[in-house]
């Protein structure tokens, strides 16, 4: 079968259609990112910036406490991503396999309802719920489960993870549901016919085939938590910081090269994670499912 000849006008139209998003990405994403990286090597001269090539800002970042903040940010985001996946996957699986598609869509819509409320306000609500005099502690005391308020419910790693998971887990359900619902049911039926039990079928068929969705969900959850700056401030207690908070702090003393160096390291770290994702998984296998579903 011969390939259809592409009409030059159609090709030109396609290129023109691509020009706008390409220009948008270039001007509003690539150029600012490039400038950030360039400024990270500059020097400060009073309140001005002086073009140069110095690693001073990187050395200050990598040699100080801010590196600990980066490490903590990576760990906290990874933990919240893992917790989010552990919660979102069963929900998505159930919706994809055991619920009618119309009902599943309604339930998925419900997952988006919390986002109608400003997320800072939602986060503030946790301080009331988890506080020493809040309803959860009141219930624990009333039921006799504790004889004093449980302090670690708020202003702790626990409360930060609550904030992250409730903020970003709903985002993770959508790609997981999409991925699982796109798996050909004949494959799982074949596994059953060949004698595999449900657990083995899940491990050998469903889980591997839903990996693109898992990684898409992981990216959504990880990037959201990693870049969050409100949850640590509101729920984190004594100085809990994510890297975004630390970058903001350096901007307060107008140390733009240091802020740029920190941002550049973060960008590189995130690009590395995305690179691993693209290398390990064929993005088309996920996007193809989206296209099929939309059709």
């Amino acid at each position: 079968m011969s390939a259809r000849a592409v009409d030059p006008v159609e090709r030109a139209g396609g290129q023109a259609a691509m020009a706008l998003p390409a220009a948008f990405v270039t001007f509003f994403l690539l150029i600012p990112l490039a400038l950030t990286i360039v400024v990270s090597f500059w020097e400060r001269a009073g309140f001005k910036l002086k073009p140069a090539f110095t690693l001073a800002s990187y050395l200050e970042f990598l040699g100080g406490v801010r590196l600990l903040v980066l490490e903590r940010s990576l760990v906290a985001a990874a933990i919240s991503t893992a917790i989010g996946l552990a919660i979102a996957y069963p929900i998505a699986y159930y919706l994809a396999r055991h619920v009618r598609r119309e009902l599943a869509r309604s339930v998925l819509f419900l997952f988006s309802v919390p986002f109608l409320v400003n997320y800072v306000i939602r986060t503030f609500a946790w301080t009331y719920l988890l506080g020493r005099t809040g309803p959860i502690n009141a219930a624990l005391l009333a039921t006799g489960l504790t004889d004093a308020s449980v302090d670690w419910l708020l202003f702790s790693d626990f409360s930060v993870q609550i904030g992250f998971v409730t903020s970003y887990m709903p985002f993770m359900v959508f790609p997981l549901w999409l991925s699982i619902s796109g798996i050909d049911r004949r494959l799982t039926e074949a596994s059953w016919i060949l004698g595999a039990n449900p657990w083995r079928t899940f491990l050998r068929i469903t889980l591997p085939l839903s990996l693109p969705g898992i990684f898409a969900a992981a990216i959504f959850g990880f990037v959201g938590a990693f870049g969050d700056s409100a949850v640590p401030i509101i729920l984190g207690g004594v100085g809990y910081q994510m890297i975004g908070n630390s970058i903001t702090s350096t901007l307060d003393v107008l140390n733009y090269p240091l802020a740029a160096a920190m941002s550049s390291v973060v960008i590189v770290a995130m690009l590395a994670l995305l690179g691993i994702w693209f290398l390990a998984f064929d993005l088309r296998s996920f996007l193809g499912k989206i296209l099929r579903w939309r059709v």
Binding site: V65, V238, G239, Y240, Q241, D252, L254
Partner: protein, 393 residues
């Protein structure tokens, strides 16, 4: 200190809701602005300098309206808006917590103030009393022996406590570090407020050698932060707060009993039925002032500059001062008390009494002294990096 870390999103949202609720008022005031045929002064403010949206007295006198725009107080926010955000061409006046002259002047962002153009300047005895050249207070309005800011608010900060929980009156910043209140203490996330108050305490208690809490050496800052880290590791602090709402919630929900904060938070807590007290510490207060700056704009017309000066002069006057004191709880200028008492049409007897009490209270704080906050100390970067060490510890 107000909005030490910039206006939070929640604050912004709340202000938006309040603004929507105030639409009828805005409509009325808009008609006043329309009546101001000569033009409009663009006034950026951090949320303290708004006299309830009522600029009618200024408009009647000058023919100009005032367009008040919310503005962040963090140094980076201020500079970014003025330099990168086109703020120099947009705003005539910015009203922020003072002490930012060094970065603002050295970046050529504000004009020197010609005090002779403001008749009320000479009547403001607070300037000579508390903000005179050669004193730490001058750093809130001046730089390099020149005046750049017009003082709109003067205040002294300490800390708040819940007397029913603490078991009585607290009269020292030592309460913030007292093991008796372990786990029930909150600090502000700001090295020039919490850091300086800690330094004031350490110096008074002779726990560290600190020459001047107003402008510490790197070694002194390190000593302060080492002390704070030690206390943090002992579990002394419950939280470091970042916004007005958050800190009010801590008091109202009795999450903490002792809190380094601003006095208006106590007013709000009291209004919600919680008995909170603003301490009168023996070590003195963290003193500070707000300053209104004229934004440097070579393209501004002479008439517009005149209108900006007229607005600054209005802000030094009795009506505006009394209004801000009444609304915000901060001392403003010496004419405020007499104006409130003499103009019962504008201020009720209760409001006049409140203005007088607040003014006398702050004057007493200033008389006692303490340390003037330093928003841009000599070693500001060491302050920031050491504070980052405290938070990361």
């Amino acid at each position: 200190m107000l909005f030490g870390q910039g206006i939070s999103r929640r604050t912004l949202l709340r202000q938006s809701i309040v603004s929507a609720a105030a639409l009828p008022l805005i409509t009325r005031l808009s008609s006043q602005a329309l009546a101001a045929t000569k033009g409009t002064v663009q006034f950026a403010d951090i949320g303290v300098g708004d006299p309830g949206g009522d600029w009618s007295k200024y408009t009647a006198a000058s023919g100009y309206g005032v367009n008040l725009v919310a503005f962040g107080n963090a140094p980076s926010a201020i500079l970014n808006v003025l330099i990168a955000g086109g703020g120099q061409g947009t705003y005539d006046i910015i009203n922020i917590v003072g002490g930012m002259q060094k970065p603002l002047v050295e970046n050529n962002l504000i004009d020197e103030i010609d005090t002779a153009r403001m008749p009320n300047w000479a009547k403001d005895s607070f300037v000579q009393k508390f903000l005179a050249p050669g004193t730490p207070g001058f750093d809130f309005i001046g730089y390099d022996n020149k005046i750049y800011g017009v003082p709109t608010v003067i205040q002294g900060d300490s800390f708040a406590y819940l007397p029913e929980a603490t078991g009585g009156e607290l009269t020292s910043y030592g309460a913030l570090f007292d093991p008796k209140f372990k786990g029930y203490v909150a600090l502000e996330d700001n090295y020039t407020t919490a850091g300086q108050k800690t330094a004031l305490y350490l110096k008074a208690a002779k726990l560290a050698t600190i020459n001047d809490p107003h402008d510490m050496t790197p070694g002194e800052i390190k000593a302060v932060v080492d002390f704070l880290i030690e206390k943090k590791k002992e579990g002394q602090f419950r939280v470091i707060w970042n916004s007005f709402e958050q800190s009010v919630g801590l008091l109202v929900n009795k999450e903490v009993y002792v809190m380094d904060c601003w006095e208006p938070m106590v007013f709000v807590a009291n209004s919600k039925g919680v008995k909170a007290v603003y301490a009168k510490p023996a070590e003195g207060y963290l003193l500070w002032a707000m300053a209104a700056y004229i934004v440097k704009n070579p393209n501004r017309s002479k008439e517009q500059t005149d209108a900006a000066y007229a607005l600054l002069d209005f802000m030094l006057g009795g009506w505006y001062g009394a209004k801000i004191t009444s609304l915000r709880g901060y001392m403003t200028n010496p004419q405020a008390v007499d104006y409130a008492k003499a103009n019962s049409g504008d201020f009720s007897a209760d409001e006049a009494a409140k203005v007088e009490a607040i003014t006398k209270g702050v004057e007493a704080k200033l008389a006692q002294g303490g340390t003037w906050q330093n928003r841009w100390p000599t070693n500001v970067e060491t302050y920031e990096s050491e504070w980052a060490r405290f938070k990361a510890a």
